[in-house]
């Protein structure tokens, strides 16, 4: 039995506006180290809502959430920010790069915020991440000069910079064409298999999900298979 990275215990979530609706009910599951997990389901089944709860950004839920065996539920905003910074890497559908910064600086941002290593070391690490993703030649370019596929790869490099315990993705290939989507998928796969990186990816792309190690399927706010 390998180490548990993320654990959800009986998570319930309601939307209150305009009427109270239960969107997640009794979500209980865990993710082990090194797993490449995808969460699938139809639009509106609550998979993204679940991801944002698991990411600690959404704190309005019932139940308990553990990351790295530490309880997240009830922690303060600043503590959660620190945990996201240190332990979670994010890849969203949209890249969210800061246009004012170069690619290298964008990748370095979370590490600079963590402030654990000297600048030189962070720079080296960022370059190394860019190299793994095959985009080291773009390091000095401004973020708004890149193509969509390149931007998403920079976003992945940014997610990797602090050696996170887990990478969470919300439709990371949703905005990309088939070819670039394939490139991003291959990167995830490589990360999982070569670097033993834990990944939790929300997607409605069945093809994408089929190639991951484990599929969690959701319907109407419930997990129907894990």
């Amino acid at each position: 039995m390998s180490e548990i990275i993320l654990e959800a215990r009986q998570i319930n979530k309601y939307f209150h506006d305009p009427v109270t609706v239960k969107v997640l009910s009794d979500i209980t599951f865990s993710v082990n180290k090194g797993e490449f997990v995808s969460v699938t389901g139809k639009s509106g089944c609550g998979k993204s809502t679940l991801l944002y709860i698991l990411s600690t950004m959404d704190t309005d839920y019932e139940g308990e959430l553990f990351i790295d065996k530490e309880i997240m539920t009830g922690k303060k905003e600043a503590q959660l920010a620190r945990i996201r910074n240190e332990k979670i890497g994010f890849v969203f559908q949209f890249h969210y790069l800061l246009n004012e910064f170069t690619v290298l600086r964008n990748v370095m941002l979370p590490a600079l915020n963590l402030n654990k290593f000297p600048l030189k070391e962070i720079e080296q690490k960022a370059m190394q991440r860019l190299k793994i993703l095959g985009i080291e030649h773009l390091a000095e370019k401004n973020a708004n000069r890149l193509s969509g596929g390149e931007k998403q790869r920079v976003a992945i490099a940014r997610a990797l910079i602090n050696d996170p315990l887990i990478i969470m993705g919300d439709e990371p290939t949703g905005n990309l064409d088939k070819k670039n989507g394939q490139v991003v998928f291959n990167i995830f796969k490589q990360l999982a298999e070569e670097f033993n990186q834990t990944l939790l990816i929300v997607t409605h792309d069945q093809d994408f999900a089929a190639h991951t190690h484990r599929i969690i399927e959701m319907e109407d706010g419930k997990i129907i298979s894990k």
């Binding site: 905003e77 600043a78 979670i88």
Partner: protein, 419 residues
């Protein structure tokens, strides 16, 4: 918290919108410029106007007031001791106007460490004779050197040399208005009749202009000994001793002390000229009000621009928060943006304020009433520059406070899911 990172992010956000930033900074610059200039100019004028009166007014004046004797005989009589006596038609006692034992008083003042200097004075009522016309006037017997040193007498002598009062016997310096009436010029000899009907000839050695027209129409100056001669009094005769103190605020208690010590009347400057203090403080208050209003308007400009920036940079704020920047860090970024607009705008404002002040300082300002002034007066006190800096930082901080709080409360989930 990594301040270096926060500053670098704030800097890049500022520069990304440098035109807006510039407009906001110019708003602060403009208001600080006006604030500094306005206050400098206003206090310069205040100082000038106050100086017009206060510089020439002794801080404490010793003299003998003509007034009824407080100790009326009936009060001293044993049989009326316990009753309340009403006395009507009391006349002023025929006490002398002279200060008793003036020599000893002056010696005592010389030793008093709180006293910066003193000047004796005699006031004599006279008639100036112009043909058959008599013009009433006052001859002030003064010690020219002491008077020049303490009350800038020299500055107001617009023609002739004040020291001639001492060097030329039987000489007089006439007020400008009085000289015009008498058609007297320097070197002329004028006729004076004293209250005791004695006639004297005095040589005009200078013309004096105080800036207060009515004053110049009746006043004239002679040396102490000339005035004593006019009045037929001995050389110990002094009617006033004008004292300048090292600390003007000490005037009221010292005046009280001297009144008891020297058995004379003593008047302090605060009592004599209370209205000038009021005028100055009202003018200063108005300047502050205008300056602060300008700053608040500039503050609203900064508020608007920051608000806009936050809406524009919602994505950036969301990703910063998602990747682990706390609300506090995001808050700091926007506070830092606001403060740097305030700081740099304010700094430029101080510089422009100084330049504008010195420009005003060079504008010619000639008025007959103020012979010593040739340009507009400006006060360059660093206090105003300091206050302006403090105000610019405080207003920009508050202008940034609400937008920054809004930015720190941005919920990344809503922004990211909304895409």
């Amino acid at each position: 918290m990594n301040y270096k990172l926060i500053i670098s992010i704030a800097k890049s956000l500022l520069l990304a919108r440098w035109k807006q930033t510039l407009v906001a900074a110019i708003g602060v610059t403009f208001s600080i410029t006006m604030f500094v200039t306005l206050l400098g100019f206003m206090t310069g004028l205040n100082d000038l106007l106050d100086g017009l009166i206060l510089n020439r007014t002794p801080h404490v004046r010793l003299y003998n007031e003509i007034k009824p004797n407080k100790n009326q005989p009936v009060n001293a009589a044993a049989e009326f001791k316990s009753s309340y006596n009403f006395i009507q038609s009391v006349k002023a006692s025929s006490s002398r106007q002279e200060i008793y034992n003036s020599g000893a008083i002056m010696q005592a003042l010389q030793k008093d460490k709180r006293v910066a200097g003193f000047a004796p004075k005699i006031t004599a009522q006279v008639f100036f004779n112009e043909g058959s016309i008599d013009i009433t006037g006052v001859v002030n017997g003064i010690d020219v050197q002491a008077e020049s040193k303490l009350f800038s007498f020299n500055d107001y002598v617009i023609d002739g040399a004040s020291i001639d009062l001492k060097n030329v016997s039987n000489s007089i310096i006439l007020g400008k208005g009085l000289a015009d009436k008498l058609l007297a010029n320097i070197g002329d000899v004028i006729q004076v009749t004293t209250a005791s009907s004695e006639r004297f000839s005095l040589k005009v050695v200078g013309i004096y202009q105080s800036g207060i027209g009515d004053f110049d129409k009746v006043q004239s100056y002679a040396s102490v000994s000339t005035a004593q001669k006019l009045l037929g009094k001995p050389s110990t005769y002094i009617t006033d001793i004008q004292i300048k103190l090292k600390d003007i605020t000490q005037a009221p208690p010292i005046a009280k002390e001297y009144a008891e010590l020297f058995l004379s009347d003593a008047e302090d400057i605060q009592t004599a000229n209370a209205q000038f203090e009021t005028g100055s403080s009202v003018r200063t208050t108005i300047s502050y009000a205008v300056g602060i209003t300008l700053l608040i308007v500039a503050g609203f400009g900064i508020y608007n621009i920051l608000n806009m920036m936050i809406y524009e940079k919602m994505d950036s704020i969301a990703i910063l928060k998602a990747t682990g920047f706390s609300g506090k860090s995001v808050n700091r970024i926007f506070i830092f943006i606001a403060l740097s607009i305030g700081f740099f705008g304010g700094l430029a404002g101080l510089l422009f304020g100084f330049l504008l002040s010195s420009a005003i300082d060079r504008v010619p300002f000639n008025t007959a009433a103020l012979p010593t002034i040739t340009t507009y007066p400006v006060n360059y006190s660093p206090v105003y520059y300091f206050i302006a800096t403090a105000f610019s930082l405080i207003t920009t901080y508050f202008a940034g406070y609400f937008p920054a709080r809004k930015a720190s409360k941005v919920d990344p989930v809503i922004i990211i899911r909304g895409k």
